[in-house]
């Protein structure tokens, strides 16, 4: 199984390591051509505004939209924002997932935090690192809410699309990555 990591900027190596740790092959994606032959794609944490500029410089938006309409995609933090169909206060980017995102929802960096969360079908106690994290303020019908923090939605699945506000790639816990790999297997 080949899982790409969009490598415009951000925590690319950390995701690639997690992919390899669960026995799949990690592929670095910088151009539209790199998307061919992938079974799935990860949109890593980073700065979503900067990633969007780089997506535009190389006309990656349409290829990413096409990919997300056909194959599994997992977005973490900035990746969640890129995937959301609606973003409060700004236009959507890839816009493939039936969620509404709110950027920097937990405050600035001094408010960034770590905690432990149960994630439905994944883990009873998952270490969740939130860094200037977004939240999901609304989900469309059929979207499965997998985790909440203080009542706010922080992880959800919409068909073949998965997104979380926090950074599983910054921890050693591979449960969420294994869950994504199972999603990809089931999809094939």
């Amino acid at each position: 199984m080949k899982i790409g990591v969009l490598a415009l900027q951000g925590a690319v190596a950390e995701h690639a390591n997690a992919i390899e740790a669960v026995g799949a092959r990690a592929v670095i994606v910088k151009n539209a051509d790199d998307l061919a032959k992938l079974d799935a794609l990860i949109l890593p944490g980073g700065e979503s505004t900067a990633m969007r500029r780089l997506i535009d410089y190389y006309e990656l938006l349409e290829p990413l939209r096409t990919f997300a309409s056909r194959k599994p995609v997992f977005g973490t933090c900035a990746g969640l924002i890129l995937l959301a169909e609606t973003i409060e206060g700004e236009a959507a980017h890839i816009g493939a997932m039936g969620i509404t995102a709110h950027r920097n929802a937990f405050g600035r960096q001094v408010d960034s935090f770590e905690t432990t969360l149960p994630i439905k079908e994944v883990s009873d106690a998952f270490p969740a690192v939130f860094i200037r994290a977004p939240k999901i303020v609304a989900v469309q019908d059929g979207v499965d809410v997998l985790a909440t923090h203080n009542g706010e939605i922080v992880c959800a699945r919409d068909r073949h699309l998965l997104a979380c506000s926090f950074h599983p790639e910054l921890t050693d816990d591979l449960a969420l990555m294994r869950y994504f790999v199972e999603m990809v297997e089931a999809y094939q």
Binding site: G10, G46, E47, Q109, E114, I131
Partner: protein, 312 residues
Amino acid sequence: MLMRMNMLAFHKQGDVFMSIITGSEVVKRGMALMQKGGVIMDVVNAEQAKIAEAAGAVAVMALERVPSDIRAAGGVARMADPRIVEEVMKAVSIPVMAKARIGHIVEARVLESLGVDYIDESEVLTPADEEYHLLKNTYTVPFVCGCRNLGEAARRIGEGAAMLRTKGEPGTGNIVEAVRHLRQVNAEVRAIVAMNEDEMMTAAKNFGAPYEVLLEIKRLGRLPVVNFAAGGVATPADAALMMELGADGVFVGSGIFKAENPEKFARAIVQATTHYKDYALIAEVSKEIGTPMKGIDIGQLAASERMQERGW
């Protein structure tokens, strides 16, 4: 290693109370990981901050003057007016960093209270303490610090820096010192990784580096925090060169807003940093972007004018 973090609150999850921790090492170092592969740009007002954000900067550094102007102005360079920092924070959604003088506990606490996302304990400003750096692991806000070699890098990590940048020579538009410092740090990291464990205490003595930090470097096979390059990046090719040499990203100080066309330079430097091995692309983005900032030959700087000597 001494570590402080704040237990902020508990939240109830089913029948169990879970802790919420801010200011931890994971959260601070993790913030820098999210900046990797990106460009952090110096800005002096909201308008420049918006240009930087629109060009694809991953963060901005809010300053009163860029380093080349600090050089030209002379005198004592201090933390920026909080009004400028707030103006920049309001203008953009990307993270905002600000500089405090080396060892200036109160400037750092003031910037933390303003809510900046990262503090640069910076040799670009006039040091407040010529013996001691800030004990950075006592703050909730993360810090980035400059380094020229492994000893400086490891001491700053030991004090709690969550991110490093090689110093270069700020405000010169001359990449030579940035190259020297990045090569030095990386060569010394490689030496530690290859070293036998029974040689490491003596290495700690010789490098002037905390033993525990060297053990962590050996275990990870790299520095435990993100290391950007800084101090002299003036062109897209300069930025790509630093990535080629193993930087995790680049700081551009005077190189953007002292260039003839800041928008074009900012966009071109961002693209060259992401695609640093795509030479045809670097050629393309380097076309017709105007002249870069005027540079300074390092040999023309007196020792007292070299900012890189600041820090201990």
